[in-house]
């Protein structure tokens, strides 16, 4: 089971690298990359946020990035915490806490993204 989690941990890394790299590039590096590729000059403007919210590719990538990021982050945090609180009982508490926090954050993030996509006000 542990090695299966480790496999997913490794697999989530390139997913995050690509999707988060792309997300950071379009959200924060528009001045630097805008000369090379077409990037909005004001990615945080409401119109741009709405346009991205309508785009199925963007919405899918957000949900995928959120899932991969939360799994990678909480599995890493679990590993660190288990080094300092060893033992079966602590492992159970740490694992369940990380799982619950991950599920809550994934639910909130996915709800936001999908609600915005499907119930977006008309432009």
């Amino acid at each position: 089971m542990q090695s299966r989690y480790w496999f997913w941990m490794l697999l989530s890394a390139p997913v995050i690298l690509i999707l988060l790299g792309w997300h950071m590039a379009i959200m924060h590096l528009e001045g630097l990359l805008g000369h090379m590729v077409s990037i909005s000059a004001q990615p945080l403007a409401w119109e741009d946020v709405m346009a991205r919210g309508r785009n199925v590719f963007v919405v899918t990538s957000y949900v995928l990035l959120l899932g991969a990021g939360l799994f990678h982050g909480f599995f890493g945090l679990r590993t660190i915490l288990m080094e300092y609180w060893p033992g079966k009982a602590a492992e159970k508490v740490i694992s369940r806490s990380c799982l619950v926090a991950g599920i809550i954050l994934f639910s909130v993030g996915t709800y936001t993204t999908l609600t915005f996509h499907f119930f977006l006000p008309a432009p």
Partner: protein
């Protein structure tokens, strides 16, 4: 269970010992990982303001227009670049690249760390260049 890590506690992170540069990269990898996870948790809730309409979004974005927040944004960028590039190095080593072939130990012994060092330096130089380029953009130095 890692008894040595448990005995040393977080203080153990600061003691690289014979691990050299890689030991400190391990420390930074953990710190940046925890920082990025904390940012992700906050980001999920900030993004939630979109659902309350344009005014709520404008209010949330107005809150981010300060020198402190812009510096923190850059810190997140630095953490991401470092964590990503150090992660590429770790995955390469995990999959058996750049650690050298198994061989009879012959004195003077050559550790695997020596073989990994060129990759470590190359990756950190590339990450450093990207961090500087991002700084020019995010801190509006261009």
């Amino acid at each position: 269970m890692n008894k040595e890590a448990a005995r040393l506690g977080v203080y153990g992170w600061l003691r690289s010992g014979k691990r050299g540069i890689e030991g400190y990269l391990f420390l930074l990898h953990r710190i940046t990982g925890i920082a990025l996870l904390a940012f992700l948790c906050m980001h999920v809730f900030v993004s939630l303001t979109r659902l309350f309409g344009e005014q709520a979004w404008a209010w949330a974005m107005a809150m981010t227009h300060s020198v402190l927040i812009e510096l923190l944004e850059y810190a997140v960028f630095v953490a991401f670049i470092f964590h990503a590039f150090n992660g590429i190095r770790l995955i390469a080593i995990e999959l058996g690249f750049v650690v050298g072939r198994p061989a009879e130990p012959v004195f003077p012994y050559k550790g695997s760390i020596t073989k990994q060092r060129p990759l470590t330096i190359t990756i950190m130089v590339v990450a450093g260049v990207l961090i500087l380029m991002g700084g020019l953009e995010l801190l509006r130095l261009t």
